[in-house]
Symmetry: C2
Subunit: 471 residues, 2 copies
């Protein structure tokens, strides 16, 4: 594709996306296809000769679109928001166009320096503890996801706890980790990957607000110590996936300090809310954490992937992750004047993801990002009030920010049927969780284009579906 | 940013990239800036209010560009190619525009099905063993990098070797792994991450062609067994980073079969060459492998990230990686009729990376991709012949495909100075490796726009710099 062809085809794709932005509401939110339906339309063999670009775009419309679940629809209330925006998409495009590798500072200095700088900006934007800034002993890095951030935190913790010997000798101790029953599945997965075993992660029960009970955490640690285990890591969650609950970081942090445990805080979904003064309470106690992450790719208009991961003391992370073969040696690395982000992550290669983050913050300014958060939280609180006022429904957990967990009072089966009917209609998409042993529907309000009318319509559909199912 | 603003700004970025494609040759290949030079131009605080898009693009030109090392320059001969192309960039843009999550089949069926289908196409395109197809017991998945693919292979191998108990209990055995001294650093890193310890990776010496000596592999395995270790994993490399050498897969595979070891083959850089009949010898013996990966994001016009990772028997991988919390349960997953790619990778979330791969294969057709490979290999062989014919220089390793390793006969210091002078000129960018204990310069020819004149010019510059340094 020549530069001129790229100009032509590029305009076609830009227009296609602009059109999609204008019409996304018209698609069924959840793809209504059976397994194999998309593959059935694809030829068994790849083409020997190139095909014209407009033909490929026709297949995008005809073959691909029926198999898309529309995460960008204002009627998408499932899982978590994965909102995107024009500046973010263009940042992604620019990054693809430059095609640089950011594994070392030397492989493209701007890629590293803009990342470091913007992640320092975010410390101020969210009023995170200063120790997470690169200007001291800490620093931030972009990961593909909170899963990877949690794994990196766990590895740094594992190495610090074993005096950096596990990496060379393998695992000598019986190490144990701790998180709430509502912690993300990636904590379990990280324990598996790190060779520590899922059974050595203690899942601590939650209180009536679905937050970790710190007294039980302390009990579990003491029991493990008495039994000859070596506690090393706690993951606190700010905004659990199931319930949006917030663990008591200050209490957890004091326990960690007392027992020399690494405290990682996973605020993947909720963290962005801290750009607003009034929501900063979610981070109370964060000054006691060793590491922290949140995802601009969820609720800050940056398209996936963009998780921001911070450590208070970067040396542990780097020591845990560094392998330097001869072919990556270079003067800048040797002088230690620079950050080489390959030592802050699992893979070696990395693309220029800071561009989209930089473009989003600059295009919107912090104030517009705050308005978006405030609007979503306001809508969630309104929705929660409607649920609360309806005798057929109940709230399944307190509504802290933008996630409303609720259920029909008719029991699990009734709620499952309600959910299936709603999602099958294509008009909204919600998902579920188990809270207090019973099914709950999750209304996650965070899509960039969701307005009051979409939330009102969703509530109307929910009530209608509940009534229809009763007849 | 409204759809209309997106149309306008999108065109600006498309034109900017087209212009960059036309002018990339004029930039110094290696960024000529000191540490901190880019950050110095960035404001200490993020903007409260949004800024106009053209102002941001001006900063891209003025602040960012001096800090870019131009991986897309035809004079980029360093590390490995990370070539991109118009169709790939537009696939990336479309993926950002759709903004779907591909963690489950249900979260966007097309995202999963196109990935599975195109990865099956590639089995045919590269004439890989049929067992890697999804239509049997195997299958392919896109990873961010070969590092992550190697880690996933190692984890599946670890679990298979411990009867899937390490994931729950932690590591009971003293497991040992094996790879050539020239294997990628990610094998060491994977051992560290997996809790197995870098010291338990045996780096087997290479022969005069820089390929793993299989007799020494067998010796090491036998020694470890005798000493009470449990060998479980071998990584064979097709196209080593340092020297481009190819390990003897057939001999290694026979040893693995005999000792029930998992054989992973890392063909990150070189694998793409197998789309040409005449280069398929690099995969001789691959039918004995349990897993395999290569990177279309290196040498197949797909921008980073796009590593294709295959397993012969997907159950082991899925069993090793699966964690299913309630909030991800859904009917399609329960019926097992679908692939949920979150169980094939480290993170949970994933974006629609198959789009760019699909667009590239369809836009170019297999034949044009073959031409590109053939041209690069031809140029590398010509360059190797020039080196060989010059009494001041020597080849440091055989030229198998597109990587020429060579050195000035004047010793390490002379070669280091030569390399520094060349890279400091900004006119070419090469990197180095240690081969046979001595420094070697690596001429990696794989950038999409590299033509004969660029390779000729590079050789001319190398000879001039060598002469200048002598005076």
């Amino acid at each position: 594709m020549t530069p001129d062809e790229f100009r032509r085809c590029g305009r076609q794709v830009v227009d296609w996306i602009a059109n999609y932005m204008e019409t996304v509401e018209k698609y069924p939110v959840l793809a209504q296809v059976e397994p194999g339906a998309i593959r059935d339309h694809l030829p068994a063999a790849p083409p020997e000769l190139g095909e014209p670009f407009p033909e490929i775009m026709r297949d995008v419309d005809e073959i691909l679109m029926p198999g898309i679940t529309h995460w960008q629809s204002p009627n998408f209330f499932a899982y978590f928001p994965a909102n995107t925006s024009g500046p973010s998409m263009l940042g992604e495009l620019l990054s693809a166009g430059l095609g640089v590798q950011g594994m070392l500072w030397a492989t493209s200095p701007a890629c590293t320096e803009i990342e470091t700088h913007v992640l320092d900006w975010l410390v101020d934007m969210l009023a995170l503890p200063d120790k997470f800034k690169s200007t001291g002993n800490g620093g931030g890095v972009i990961q593909d996801s909170a899963s990877s951030a949690t794994l990196c935190a766990l590895l740094a913790a594992r190495e610090r706890a074993t005096e950096f010997r596990s990496n060379t000798d393998g695992l000598p101790h019986r190490l144990t980790a701790y998180a709430s029953v509502h912690a993300h599945s990636s904590v379990t997965k990280a324990m598996m990957i790190a060779g520590l075993g899922a059974d050595n992660l203690r899942l601590i029960p939650a209180d009536e607000n679905q937050a970790l009970r710190s007294s039980l955490l302390l009990e579990a640690i003491n029991q493990d110590v008495a039994a000859g285990y070596r506690p090393f890591f706690v993951c606190g969650t700010v905004g659990t996936t199931a319930a949006g609950s917030v663990d008591p970081l200050a209490a957890i942090g004091r326990i960690c300090a007392q027992h020399a445990l690494w405290l990682h805080v996973d605020a993947a979904m909720a963290g962005t809310a801290a750009i607003c003064d009034e929501f900063r309470f979610i981070h109370d106690g964060l000054d006691l954490a060793d590491s922290y992450c949140f995802n601009p790719h969820k609720w800050m208009l940056v398209n996936f992937d963009c998780d921001c991961f911070y450590v208070a003391e970067r040396t542990s992370l780097i020591r845990a992750m560094r392998v330097t073969p001869e072919y990556l040696e270079n003067r800048a690395t040797l002088t230690s004047e620079v950050i080489d982000y390959r030592d802050w992550q699992i893979p070696l290669g990395r693309r220029f993801r800071a561009l989209k983050l930089w473009l989003v913050i600059r295009s919107y300014g912090v104030e517009q990002l705050r308005s978006l958060i405030r609007e979503h939280v306001k809508l969630a609180r309104e929705f929660a009030a409607w649920v609360d006022a309806d005798p057929d429904f109940e709230l399944a957990a307190p509504t802290v920010l933008n996630l409303v967990c609720f259920r029909h009072r008719g029991g699990d089966e009734r709620n499952q049927r309600l959910l299936d009917d709603l999602n099958h209609s294509g008009r909204v998409f919600l998902t579920h969780a188990k809270i207090g042993g019973a099914l709950a529907l999750r209304m996650s309000i965070g899509q960039a284009n969701t307005q009051r009318r979409h939330v009102e319509q969703a509530w109307e559909l929910i009530r209608q579906a509940a009534t229809a199912a009763a007849n």
